[in-house]
């Protein structure tokens, strides 16, 4: 965290709370984005970063600008979403997708995959490469969704800093890659651009896990390191939405350190590999968690 954002933190926690609540209300009432059920510590940290980044003196000034300057919203959304990822982040997970999940999917004539919270698209391209190498890509319909339009635009472009390429190549190999990651991108100046053929079956779409509903019947849902930002009730609600989006036996892939112990909807999933946070939807939902 930058020092300025830290300087603002903790001087008067009660005042901070009032200001943060007003900011959240403004986002919801004026712009329809509901952050009320985000885990507070990270949300607060990001809001402070916005305060610092836009040189406003406090959260209230930020809120004022959010209400009166229509061009400001995208920048705020960018600051409040999670655009950080890598290609083949956590290689053992992608290896398990390659070796355990894709063979199971290959029995279907049509395969639907949803990545919720795709951010800048690094994992969608990783997944597309796995599907190409397994010979399944042309049978797939892939939905990549995020509430951050700027991130979705970047995901479509598939352009990333070249300095990442070396680490991502290592990840790709560690995940069991059979070619060279360089086969899938072209490098120019300080950037790499992923082969745009990799997104020929990908639909990038605006979807907000907090407010939007089920829209597909999928065999695989990926949502890595998104639920960690949600409070328990929202985590459970979104997990139930994943359950309702998955066909019986469908696969769910979460982030490596996510904890579902407090989410009743987790009972509708069985672990395929609990240390990798890979789950399958149980044949029939065993509990009814409506309103939970």
């Amino acid at each position: 965290m930058n020092p300025v954002a830290l300087n603002l933190s903790g001087i008067d926690p009660e005042l901070d709370d009032i200001e943060l609540n007003l900011f959240v209300s403004a986002m919801r009432q004026r712009h329809g984005y509901d952050f009320a059920q985000y885990a507070p510590a990270s949300l607060k940290r990001r809001v402070y970063q916005l305060v610092e980044q836009h040189h406003t003196t406090n959260i209230s000034t930020l809120t004022g600008r959010l209400l009166h300057d229509p061009t400001f919203l995208p920048q705020v959304l960018e600051g409040l979403s999670v655009p950080v990822s890598d290609m083949f982040r956590d290689p053992p997970v992608f290896r398990a997708l390659r070796e355990q999940v894709l063979p199971a999917l290959s029995v279907h004539p049509r395969i639907t995959i949803w990545q919720a919270g795709c951010a800048r698209g690094q994992e969608i391209y990783s997944l597309a490469i796995l599907l190409e190498e397994a010979g399944l890509y042309d049978r797939c319909q892939i939905y990549a969704t995020d509430f951050n339009d700027a991130a979705l635009r970047q995901a479509r472009e598939g352009i990333y800093p070249a300095r990442e390429a070396q680490a991502w190549s290592r990840n790709y190999q560690a995940a069991g890659g059979t070619c060279s990651l360089a086969d899938y991108y072209s490098a120019r100046y300080d950037f790499i651009k992923l082969d745009q053929r990799l997104r020929r079956n990908v639909v990038f779409a605006d979807h907000n896990l907090v407010t939007d509903a089920v829209f597909c019947e999928a065999q695989l849902v990926l949502c890595r390191n998104v639920l960690i930002y949600f409070s328990n009730p929202l985590q459970n609600r979104v997990l139930a939405m994943f359950r309702d989006s998955l066909l019986p036996g469908g696969f769910l892939c979460l982030g490596l350190r996510e904890n579902l112990a407090l989410a009743p909807a987790a009972r509708d999933f069985e672990a395929l590999d609990s240390s990798l946070r890979l789950f399958r939807r149980c044949p029939e939902p065993v509990h009814d968690h409506e309103g939970g």
Partner: protein, 188 residues
């Protein structure tokens, strides 16, 4: 003085060895929780195992949504920021690294300062960067106690030095002087 609920400890280069010594000298009846953020560990399991061999308290990896437990050492997992919510539970984030570090000591300390106010002890040990200095300032502003390892006593002096320059400290001690002070602050 407000009772100490939690002790947060930050370190980097040279950290595992320093942690092993410090945790080995804590009172095994310590009621407070101990939360560790170390950059240096190549593998978290190895760090937990190493610390478990020396610590008087049980050592586990901090798990998101779980309560911050008293009488236990809880270690930040690799490649995530570790935060403490006001409800005294852990939260994780994959926000950008701070000064090349994830987990960041600043992120842990500032969230802990908000959660515990004066009921917090924050400790900066050996390290080769400036992470933790700004977080330690938050801890002090919220009324918590800041303990910094004497730079001359540290395997890598940069981190304690940066903390002293930016935040200052309530106690600037050698590693061996720390556990007796922490035991006294927590057990009375």
């Amino acid at each position: 003085m407000k009772a100490v609920e939690t002790i947060v400890i930050g370190c980097s280069t040279g950290g595992p060895g320093a942690l092993a010594r410090l945790l080995g000298a804590l009172d095994h009846r310590l009621p407070a929780s101990v939360v560790v953020c170390s950059h240096a560990a190549s593998s978290p399991h190895t760090l937990c195992q190493l610390l478990a061999q020396h610590s008087t308290l049980p050592v586990i990896e901090a798990c998101e949504r779980e309560p911050v437990r008293g009488g236990m050492v809880q270690v930040a997992p690799p490649d995530y920021h570790l935060l403490i919510e006001r409800g005294r539970r852990f939260a994780l984030s994959i926000d950008e690294p701070v000064g090349f570090s994830r987990p960041s000591i600043d992120v842990l300390f500032s969230s802990a300062a908000e959660a515990y106010g004066a009921g917090l002890i924050a400790v900066i040990l050996t390290g080769a960067n400036a992470d933790g200095a700004a977080g330690l300032a938050c801890v002090r502003r919220a009324g918590g106690v800041a303990i910094v390892q004497q730079p001359d006593d540290a395997a890598a002096p940069a981190m304690p030095r940066a903390a002293l320059e930016l935040a200052g400290a309530d106690h600037c001690l050698t590693l061996d002087e720390m556990a007796p002070l922490i035991n006294r602050l927590c057990m009375t």
